[in-house]
């Protein structure tokens, strides 16, 4: 009981810290999320007052698509952030259903509505470069909820995940397996830039070792598909010493399959989802989970607001907090919440309990 209260208090503190710390630290430098959750990765700053505009503002968002609980929570956090700011008159959220043509159309529809700031989470930087260039040419600040590399020039870039996400899992498995063995790789949705970056990070982490990728499948970051694929692999009897996952809800599916098949668990990587943390704790598997916080959504809204207030921001921010491991698992797992919750959250604890009650 004491332990439960301690964990509850720790998480409450974490949630409050995330929601309260940013405005409190805004005087010297804009904090999009508390230190440790996100860091500025470029010394370059946007010019002050360049995008300053009188409120009320119209902020448009073009997101890649809906379809998993991380996105649902992130959208909720974004909307809450926007609704809590009286200077935001309209908050227009569009989602592209993972379709490049739809994302281009969404951006066109947002621009025609004369938004004051644009937040774009590109399916791939190359696919939206024309619309982003058009927005910038019209003097509209663009916050990239993603990584643009050399392809997509935006005003500010806010992201997590990517190569570093994949690398965390790769390094963990390399260490656990002593640099040799056979790994199954569960990838996300084929053709999605973020997925490719995570996979590249994983490959980089095992480069030069004697670790072989025994098999590689696309589980679409989805529990049902991940489970089906894992069942096939387990039943095929292919050797496996560890499993790398591209995140989302596939690891929980595979833990369930191993348990149902009575197969001894191997080290697995996951993501900071309460369902996975529960399965991880219950099964006692050796695991590691990078944190890809839904708080990135509100961080992009804060960035857009700061630009419209005429404040200066760094041009690049990146979220790569220390991962969850067997050692600190209890600090993050919330036994009082259901499997759909993702840590860490900017939502207040009462809202979290309302949304993710068991």
């Amino acid at each position: 009981m004491t332990n439960l209260l301690r964990k509850g208090a720790a998480n409450l503190y974490l949630s409050l810290a995330v929601s309260l710390a940013a405005p409190a630290m805004a005087e010297d430098e804009i904090q999009l999320l508390p230190p440790g959750l996100i860091e500025a990765t470029s010394p370059n700053m946007t010019p002050a007052d360049k995008f300053k505009k009188n409120p009320p503002w119209k902020i448009g968002v073009s997101f890649v698509g809906v379809g998993n609980t991380w996105i649902v929570q992130m959208i909720e956090e974004m909307k809450r952030e926007a609704s809590s700011n009286p200077n935001i008159g309209e908050f227009l959220f569009t989602e592209a259903n993972w379709q490049p043509a739809k994302q281009v159309a969404d951006l066109e529809d947002l621009l025609v509505q004369k938004v004051d700031a644009l937040i774009v989470a590109p399916l791939a930087p190359a696919l939206v470069k024309d619309q982003v260039a058009k927005a910038l040419a019209a003097g509209i600040p663009v916050v990239n909820f993603g990584t643009g590399g050399d392809i997509l020039a935006t005003t500010v870039e806010v992201m997590g995940g990517g190569e570093r996400f994949g690398e965390v899992g790769g390094k963990f498995l390399r260490e656990k397996l002593g640099g040799k063995g056979t790994i199954w790789a569960f990838r996300g949705i084929a053709g999605v830039e973020e997925e490719k970056q995570r996979y590249d990070g994983f490959r980089k982490a095992i480069e030069g070792s004697d670790i072989q990728i025994g098999t590689e499948v696309y589980g679409d970051w989805n529990y049902a598909k991940g489970k089906q694929l894992c069942e096939n692999l387990v039943l095929s009897g292919q050797p496996v010493d560890g499993i790398w996952f591209s995140g989302a809800d596939m690891t929980r599916a595979c833990i369930d399959v191993f348990a149902e098949a009575g197969k001894p668990l191997v080290p697995m990587t996951g993501e900071s989802n309460n369902g996975f943390l529960r399965a991880w704790k219950d099964a006692g598997v050796d695991g590691a989970a990078p944190i890809f916080t839904p708080g990135l959504g509100p961080a992009t809204v804060r960035a857009a607001v700061a630009l419209l207030e005429g404040k200066s921001l760094h041009t690049h921010y990146y979220s790569s907090p220390a991962p969850i491991t067997n050692q600190n698992l209890d600090e993050y797992y919330r036994p009082d919440l259901n499997d759909a919750f993702w840590v860490t959250s900017t939502l207040p604890d009462d809202k979290i309990k309302e949304m993710f009650a068991k």
């Binding site: 259903n97 490049p100 025609v112 399916l123 696919l127 830039e193």
Partner: protein, 309 residues
């Protein structure tokens, strides 16, 4: 009382097919100042162009009594080819690929008697895999002349208008003004009877699949040029979107019925729904449900015999 379900058996056009896009247009015109802007109307035109071209091809196959689910994958592979092949050869290679896929689909359906749904599902999966192998990460450079053809304007009229116009005229001529069209309707309505009356059913069905794949290639070229980058999954939603446009346009999926006007109406309805929901700020969680509900209403108001039952 107006009978919204009554329509021509040959064209499948019932009042609801035509009323729906007009009603949506009027509703959006009256409710959103942004919708009325020329910029937005040009956007809508550009947004529906690829679906229009691909749907016209799908319509030819549907009228002949088939269905082609490989449309989207052919568009995706076209996109992958355009940004990986030599700029001078991208379009010819893509067209050759389209013709090959159409031939495989056509021969599979006619000579090997595989159901069109199964046959084109198989080619869809194969072609999608090839596209991902060829160009796994979105990006690449689209040849400049294609970009100019897709995004430029002539006297303020967007290029997409001319792409749509050319595709509609060609489809209208093929289906409504040529022997090919007459035979396609005959084969779709009753292939056995059409064969007994001297129509080369196999050859005609193969030609329909080839035309459909070629239209998917053209749609893929337009879409890739419009987006300005290649993507091996770019066409994925179009396989089902073209079928949805058929249903909204009153095309009888069992064959022998349908019209270019119906296809145009179906595509416009889908385009207006998407644009309208963006402009009206409909929640992303509601959008799919709203689209599905509208589709159900549209199909529910058509005669049962006119929707392939």
């Amino acid at each position: 009382m107006l009978d919204l379900a009554r329509g021509s058996r040959r064209t499948g056009l019932s009042p609801i097919v035509l009323v729906l896009p007009v009603a949506l247009f009027v509703l959006l015109y009256l409710s959103s100042g942004t919708f009325r802007s020329l910029e937005n109307l040009a956007n809508v035109n550009s947004q529906v162009a690829a679906l229009m071209i691909a749907s016209l091809g799908q319509g030819i196959v549907a009228i002949s009594g088939g269905i082609d689910l490989s449309v989207g994958s052919v568009m995706s592979l076209t996109s992958a080819i355009l940004v990986t092949a030599d700029p001078a050869w991208g379009v010819p290679i893509a067209l050759a690929m389209g013709a090959a896929v159409g031939l495989v689909n056509g021969f599979g359906v006619t000579l090997f008697k595989v159901h069109p749904l199964v046959m084109t599902l198989a080619t869809m999966t194969f072609v999608q895999g090839v596209a991902l192998l060829l160009h796994p990460v979105p990006g690449g450079e689209v040849p400049g002349y294609l970009r100019a053809l897709a995004v430029s304007q002539v006297a303020g009229v967007p290029a997409a208008f001319f792409w749509c116009g050319a595709a509609i005229l060609l489809a209208w001529h093929l289906l409504g003004r040529s022997r090919f069209g007459l035979r396609t309707y005959a084969v779709g309505a009753n292939p056995v009877s059409a064969g007994r009356n001297g129509i080369a059913v196999t050859r005609l069905k193969v030609a329909c699949f080839v035309l459909c794949s070629l239209s998917a290639v053209v749609a893929g070229i337009f879409l890739t040029a419009r987006v300005g980058a290649g993507d091996a999954t770019m066409g994925a939603p179009y396989s089902l979107d073209t079928v949805t446009a058929m249903a909204l346009g009153g095309i009888q999926l069992a064959g022998g019925s349908g019209s270019v006007l119906g296809i145009v109406a179906g595509v416009l309805t889908l385009g207006l729904i998407s644009n309208g929901m963006n402009l009206m700020g409909v929640s992303p969680f509601l959008r799919a449900a709203v689209t599905g509900a509208l589709l159900l209403v549209a199909i529910g108001l058509q005669r049962r015999e006119a929707i392939g039952a």
